[in-house]
């Protein structure tokens, strides 16, 4: 059987982490190709519902990343995001959503190497955890017609 290739979605802000990932590219630092980046203006824009949707649709892991505290292009978007993440992560933990599968990080526009490292460590840890079957089991309608119960 082929090795499990985790599907990982990265939600990143335009000004720091997206630019940081650009720098990873211009620095030609190689990293795992399992991650797909979705660009947001700011971490403040990242709706936690999108994280749930990513799991719904089959993601095995998620990276959420933005500017370091005090570095936000919009001054405080990341501070708002951080508070939201603290509560959302705790709620995920409480409902049994595997918080190991959601990696939060600060990656600045200058941290190309850090981005590569975040991606690689996340891919490695999700590979270890395996596919998110617990979630996938309840995510889709059962193939066979059943009545609730």
């Amino acid at each position: 059987m082929a090795e499990f290739e985790p599907k990982i979605v990265a939600f990143v802000c335009n000004w720091c982490t997206y630019a940081g990932a650009d720098l990873t590219g211009t620095s030609r630092i190689k990293y795992a190709s399992n991650v797909r980046i979705i660009r947001f203006p700011c971490t403040g824009r990242i709706d936690y519902m999108l994280l749930l949707k990513a799991f719904d649709e089959g993601a095995d892991g998620i990276i959420v990343s933005g500017c370091h505290p005090n570095d936000c292009h919009y001054t405080s978007g990341n501070f708002h995001a951080r508070r939201r993440w603290i509560m959302f992560r705790s709620l995920c933990d409480f409902t049994g959503i595997d918080t190991e599968r959601i990696k939060f990080s600060w990656v600045s526009a200058a941290e190309g190497a850090k981005w590569a490292e975040i991606v690689n460590t996340t891919v490695a840890s999700i590979r270890e955890l395996g596919p998110y079957t617990d979630y996938k089991k309840v995510a889709k309608y059962p193939e066979k017609e059943v009545i609730h119960g």
Binding site: V9, G25, C42, R45, E57, H73, Y74, T75, G77
Partner: protein, 667 residues
Amino acid sequence: MSKIGVFVCHCGENISATVDCAKVAETAGTYDGVAFSVDYKYMCSDPGQNIIKNAIKEKGLTGVVVASCSPRMHEPTFRKACAEAGLNPFMCEMANLREHCSWVHEKNEATTEKAIDLVRILVEKVKYNHSLNEIKVPVTKTALVIGGGIAGIQASLDIANTGHKVILIERDPSIGGHMSQLSETFPTLDCSQCILTPRMVEVAQHPNITLYTYAELESLEGFIGNFKAKIRRKSKSIDEKLCTGCGQCTTKCPVKKIPSEFNEGLGKRTAIYVPFPQAVPNKPVIDRGNCTYYIKGKCKVCEIVCPTGAIRFDQEDQIMEVEVGAIVVATGFTVKQPDFFPEYGYGKYADVITGLQFERLASASGPTLGEIRRPSDGKIPEKIVFLACAGSRDPAKGIPYCSKICCMYIAKHAMLYQHKVHGGKSYVFYMDIRAGGKQYEEFVRRAIEDDGVNYIRGRVSKIYEKNGKLIVSGADTLLNAMPVEIEADMVVLATAGVANEGAEELAQKMHISYDPYKFFAEAHPKLKPVETNTAGIFLAGACQAPRDIPESVAMASGAAVKVAGLFSQDELTREPIIAVVNRQAPPVYSSCVGCFLCVSACPYQAIEKEEIKNRNGEVIKLVAKVNPGLCQGCGTCVAFCRTKSIDIQGYTHEQMYTEVMALLNEY
């Protein structure tokens, strides 16, 4: 039905070396709504752009996805190309196949698969893009300059000289700032007052400049091009129109023992006073905290002696509102007072003074008329010690940064001392000599070599008094930390330059950001040194960090050019990537329920309350409204809104949701 064009760039071999570009284009061609799909060697080249333009025209494309480098690189290029072909530029999106894919992965199927995914995400997103138009904002062509030091003066003059109106406010009774307190200036040793005073006068006389001294910013609303500032004009207790500045009142005022702020406490002033002889405006104010009349209810000597009847004891503070299009903040800095350093015995020893106090001693207009006499007994000090980095570069004191100006002014002080006190001995304790700047290093060398100032590399642990002498006890680190003790007559501390008291509140009033030391934050440390994160507000001088005069002036001129650039347009255009609160047909009007939690979430105070009225003019609903002039498009409100009533153009709910769906499903 969408007609999307997908344009896959090889970027020479930058992308095609690891990504099968033809396959990416071919796969993209199979997606619903993709009307045209092609790969090409250089999409950003003229022929490449022509492929896009022709496809838009010939296929009637409704959306474009360029799969090439980072949008941070070429988004403007391709959007412009689309616009030239008649497609709204915001219908163009870019998939980042180079920085995020080909450059970071090996050549294999997985890399091409990723490239395909990245393109698909954007293809699905662009189906939900809307044509957007740039936002036009009118500009009020008057600038507000806050702070009348050299930076504020320079900014005001530069802006005024471009033909625009300037309102300059200064919280002290006179403009001039710290520069007016200085004796000579490094590295040329020309007299500070002599070069500053003409500028001060120019400000006062300039037809485009309205000067309000003894005035502070009360509040600020609005946004770039359209600020509304409330200014508190503190009561001067005189009628400025009647006052001729004859000086009768200050001469006769019975309260004469107030430490003069201008002289850093080394001289005295009266309760009704002009801070210094060259003050602009040269008209007195009454210091109500010290005036006998305000304390005890009687005196009024000044009123009696005033030949023009200009004294107004009942004058009140005035709040006036002005409309301005841009603001230059030039509120300067202050220095740590030596009471911050108990180890140096300040307060106990009158002859341990700050650098700024030394400036007053050395100044010809100062309390000693330029003679270096120590405060305690007026004697001329035979031995003087200068301590650099008093507080600066000292993380333990909470000031890890370098105050920057001290190395130079210490050299200047020591030099002035040697010039004025023949046979005197001067010592400088320093950590490093930072003399980066035109003619700066030469200046320091002159102090050491020509004027015989003794530089000792090391720190001073304490200062104490013994037999009428100040014993400066330190270590010479160049001599293996050998203990050094100097019996000095006077000690000058180059105390750290710090943010003004109240800097934080002022920043909050203006909604600009500040660093951990309360210095105002520039928008970008390298590329936007005079901008703030709030559009239309600029920084000049030492309110941003300790600065010397040439830097402050350069910054002020830089800020002035930014303002002039802003004022060269009648309307501002802004990217339409902003938040919008939905509006619906009656009876709903908007799904917003008016909880206004978004108001506190917005970093820009861009969300306002809008009353929705019926035909009879009755308010039937209060809903949020985003001010397009203020919104910067971060989208924090969007993720916060429970009713999903706010959306951000370019990153809408549908677009972001679709991206997630497109990423994880087959299309």
